[in-house]
C-alpha cells in the first residue's frame, strides 16, 4: 500500500514540471488575414511574410515582456467575405491580441464588424476603401492610404502631367476596384476631363480582347485600368500592347508588384501607376530589405505595409504591457516612428495618412515620376 502511495506521489512530482510548463510558457498570439489561396494569393502571401518578418524582428529585439514567444496564426480569406468572417471568428476563438489584415476591402469590412464585437484591434495593410475607417469602429486601423486620396491624386496627375482630355475606365467590380474607378471618374469630371466610357470586366477573367478592342476604337488619351491584383493587370497590359492600343495606360496601387513586369514584360514599359510613396533610402527600409529579400524574394506591394502594421501592433502591446485593447489602442495612438513604408502616426479615425505619387514603369523598376504638390520628380 505504502509503496503504491509513494509511486503515485513520485509520478505526480514527475508530472509537475510538465503541467507548470503549460502555465508559464506564455505565447502572444497574433492573427493575420489575407488571401492565401485564390486569385490574390500572391498579395496575401506577401502580407503574411511581412507580418512574419515583423515578429522575427521583435523577437530579436527581446520580444515582449511576459511572453516567451510570439506566434502568428495566418488565416486565409480568399478575398471572400464569408470566409473572412469565418477567419475572424476563428481568430476570436484563438484569443489573439490583434489582427493584421485583410487584403480586399470587401473582406476587411465584414471581418472587422465581427472582430469589433470582441474589441479586437485590426490593422489593415491593404484595404483602401473609405468605408473601412469611416464606419467609426474604435479598433479599426489602416496602414495604407485611402481611395478618396488616391483617386484625386490620379486624376490630377492625368490632367496636369499627362495633359489628358479623355479617359476610358475599366474596373472588375470588386469593392476596391470599382470604388476607386468611380472616384477617378468623379474627380476627372470635376477637373474638366471627359470620361468616354466606364466599362466592367469580371473577376478571374483572362481574356480582355473584347474590352480592349472597344477601348482601342474609343482611342481616349488615357486607359485607366482599375483591377484587383497585379496578375489580371499584367495580362490586360500585354493584350493591350498586342492589340496595338495607343492610349496611355494608368493604373493603381494593387499593381505595385514587381511580378507585374515579369508577366507583362516589355508591354509594362511606360505604364503609370499611383502608389503610396516609400522612401527606399531610409535605414529602416534597407534593414527590412536585407532581411526580407533573401527569405521571400522581391519586396512586393503590401509586404512593407504589413510589416509596419504588425510592428505598430507589437510595439503598442509592448508599451502597454498588456493585451487589453483599450490600453493597446492608447499606445497605438501615441506611436510616432519611421516605419519601412512610411512615417507611422495614426489619426483619430484610425487612418495613417496617404502619400500617393505617380510611378512610371521603366524596365523592371517602379520609378517615382510625379507628386501632387511639386509635380515632376527629378
Amino acid at each position: 500500500m505504502r509503496k503504491r502511495v509513494v509511486s503515485i506521489v513520485t509520478l505526480c512530482l514527475i508530472l509537475v514540471p510538465f503541467l507548470c510548463g503549460g502555465v508559464y510558457a506564455k505565447t502572444l498570439k497574433i492573427g493575420s488575414m489575407s488571401p492565401l489561396t485564390g486569385p490574390y494569393a500572391s498579395d496575401g502571401t506577401d502580407i503574411k511574410n511581412g507580418v512574419l518578418t515583423a515578429i522575427e524582428v521583435m523577437e530579436e529585439m527581446g520580444g515582449i515582456p511576459g511572453y516567451d514567444k510570439i506566434q502568428l496564426f495566418p488565416q486565409d480569406t480568399a478575398c471572400d467575405p464569408r470566409q473572412a468572417v469565418a477567419a475572424a471568428n476563428k481568430l476570436i476563438n484563438l484569443e489573439v491580441a490583434g489582427v493584421v489584415g485583410a487584403y480586399c476591402s470587401s473582406s476587411t469590412i465584414p471581418a472587422s464588424d465581427v472582430l469589433d464585437e470582441e474589441d479586437i484591434i485590426m490593422i489593415t495593410p491593404a484595404s483602401t476603401n473609405e468605408k473601412v475607417t469611416d464606419r467609426g469602429l474604435p479598433y479599426m486601423f489602416r496602414m495604407c492610404g485611402r481611395d478618396d486620396d488616391q483617386a484625386p491624386a490620379a486624376a490630377k496627375f492625368m490632367k496636369e502631367s499627362l495633359g489628358a482630355k479623355t479617359i476610358f475606365i475599366v474596373d472588375d467590380k470588386t469593392t476596391y476596384s470599382q470604388g476607386l474607378a468611380d472616384g477617378v471618374a468623379d474627380a476627372a469630371k470635376s477637373m474638366g476631363m471627359n470620361v468616354v466610357a466606364h466599362e466592367h470586366v469580371n473577376q478571374g477573367d483572362k481574356d480582355f480582347s473584347a474590352i480592349l478592342t472597344m477601348a482601342k476604337k474609343a482611342n481616349a488619351d488615357i486607359f485607366y485600368m482599375s483591377l484587383q491584383g497585379f496578375s489580371p493587370a499584367a495580362m490586360m497590359t500585354l493584350q493591350a500592347k498586342r492589340l496595338g492600343m495607343d492610349s496611355q495606360i494608368v493604373t493603381q496601387d494593387a499593381v505595385f508588384q514587381p511580378r507585374y513586369m515579369e508577366v507583362a514584360k516589355d508591354a509594362a514599359n511606360g505604364v503609370f501607376l499611383t502608389y503610396g510613396f516609400t522612401d527606399p533610402t531610409t535605414p529602416e527600409y534597407k534593414a527590412f530589405e536585407k532581411r526580407y529579400v533573401p527569405k521571400y524574394g522581391k519586396i512586393a506591394a503590401y509586404a512593407t505595409y504589413a510589416y509596419d502594421a504588425a510592428m505598430s501592433l507589437l510595439k503598442a502591446i509592448k508599451a502597454a504591457g498588456s493585451t487589453d485593447s483599450a490600453k493597446v489602442k492608447a499606445e497605438l495612438m501615441k506611436l510616432d516612428f519611421q516605419g519601412v513604408s512610411k512615417h507611422v502616426k495614426f489619426r483619430a479615425n484610425g487612418d495613417s495618412g496617404s502619400s500617393y505619387i505617380a510611378f512610371k514603369v521603366e524596365g523592371d523598376k517602379f520609378v517615382p515620376y510625379w507628386e501632387p504638390v511639386n509635380g515632376l520628380i527629378k
Partner: protein, 303 residues
C-alpha cells in the same frame, strides 16, 4: 466593320481554345458517360508543363536558335505528361467507381479537380508562371484590325489538331474501337476490344488536347496560374453540352459559339455580362433542344 472583324478574330482565337478543351469532356463522356470535372486542371497542368519546358529551353539558349523546334518539343512534352497524368487519374479516381452510381464518379471528379488545382498551387507556388516572350512577336496591322502571328498560329494549330482527331476517330482502327466501346462496352469486349485500354486512351487523347490548349493559352496570355483551369473548364463543359455532349463535331462548334458569344457580348453590349450571354445560350439550347445543336446520340459521330 473593322471593329466587327477585330472582334471576330478575338472570338475565333478564344473559341478555338474552348473547342480544344471541350473535346476532352465530350470524348470522355462519350465513352464512359462521365463528366470529368478534373479536365480543366489537365489544361492548367499542360500550361505549366509548357512553361517549364520552354523556360528550360530558353535557359539553354535554344529558344533563339531553334524556336520552332523548342515549341514542338514543349508541345510534345506537355501533351505526353498530361496524357500520363490523365491515365493515372482515371485509374485512381474513376476506374474503381465504374460500377458505382454516376453521382459517386461525378463527386470523385470534382474532388480530383480540387486536389489537382491545390497540388499545383503547393508545388508550383501561388505566382504566375511566365512564358518566354520572344515567340511570335508582332503581326499584321491593318490600322483598326490587328492580327498577331500568335493568333494565326493558335487558330491554325487548333484546326490541325481537330482534323487530326477527326481522322483518328473516323478513319483508323483505334477510332473504330473507341466508337464501338462508346456504343456498347460489353458487346465490344465480346469482339475482343479491350475496353479498359480504350478508356485509358480516350482520357490520354482528351488530356493531350487540353494540354495543347494550355500551352496556347500560356503563349497568348503570357503566363499561366494554378487556378486557371476552372473557368475555361466550365466554359468548355458548356460548349460540349451546347454542341451535344458525346459528339466531337458538336464540341468544336460549341466551343466556337461560346467564344464568339462571349467576345461579341462583351464587345457590343457590356463586358460584365459576357459570361451571362454565354450561359443564356446554353440554357436556351438545353430548353429547346436538350440533346445539343448537333445531337447527342448519333452513333456514327459519337466517340
Amino acid at each position: 466593320m473593322e471593329y466587327f472583324i477585330q472582334q471576330l478574330i478575338n472570338g475565333l482565337t478564344l473559341g478555338g481554345m474552348y473547342a480544344l478543351i471541350a473535346l476532352g469532356y465530350t470524348m470522355v463522356y462519350g465513352v464512359i458517360q462521365l463528366i470529368n470535372f478534373a479536365h480543366g486542371e489537365f489544361f492548367a497542368a499542360g500550361g505549366y508543363a509548357g512553361a517549364i519546358a520552354l523556360s528550360y529551353f530558353a535557359g539553354l539558349g535554344y529558344m533563339d536558335t531553334h524556336p520552332i523546334l523548342c515549341l514542338t518539343g514543349a508541345f510534345a512534352l506537355a501533351m505526353a505528361y498530361c496524357a500520363y497524368l490523365a491515365v493515372g487519374v482515371e485509374k485512381i479516381a474513376y476506374k474503381p467507381l465504374r460500377k458505382a452510381s454516376r453521382l459517386a464518379a461525378l463527386l470523385s471528379a470534382l474532388g480530383m479537380s480540387i486536389f489537382l488545382s491545390n497540388g499545383m498551387m503547393l508545388t508550383r507556388g501561388v505566382y504566375d508562371a511566365v512564358y518566354p516572350s520572344e515567340l511570335f512577336q508582332g503581326g499584321f496591322d491593318f490600322g483598326m484590325v490587328t492580327i498577331s502571328y500568335l493568333q494565326i498560329t493558335i487558330v491554325s494549330l487548333t484546326a490541325a489538331l481537330l482534323i487530326g482527331l477527326n481522322i483518328l476517330v473516323f478513319k483508323t482502327k483505334i477510332g473504330m474501337a473507341m466508337r464501338a466501346t462508346a456504343q456498347d462496352k460489353t458487346m465490344s469486349a465480346l469482339v475482343a476490344i479491350g475496353s479498359n485500354k480504350i478508356i485509358s486512351l480516350t482520357f490520354a487523347i482528351g488530356a493531350g488536347l487540353a494540354a495543347a490548349a494550355g500551352i496556347m493559352y500560356g503563349l497568348y496570355y503570357g503566363s499561366v496560374k494554378y487556378d486557371m483551369g476552372f473557368v475555361p473548364g466550365i466554359k468548355a463543359f458548356a460548349a460540349a453540352v451546347l454542341g451535344g455532349i458525346g459528339n466531337i463535331t458538336g464540341a468544336m462548334v460549341g466551343g466556337l459559339i461560346i467564344g464568339m458569344v462571349e467576345i461579341f457580348g462583351a464587345g457590343y453590349i457590356s463586358g460584365e455580362y459576357k459570361d451571362v450571354f454565354a450561359f443564356i445560350i446554353l440554357i436556351g439550347v438545353l430548353y429547346f433542344k436538350p440533346t445539343g445543336i448537333m445531337g447527342e446520340n448519333i452513333d456514327d459521330t459519337r466517340v
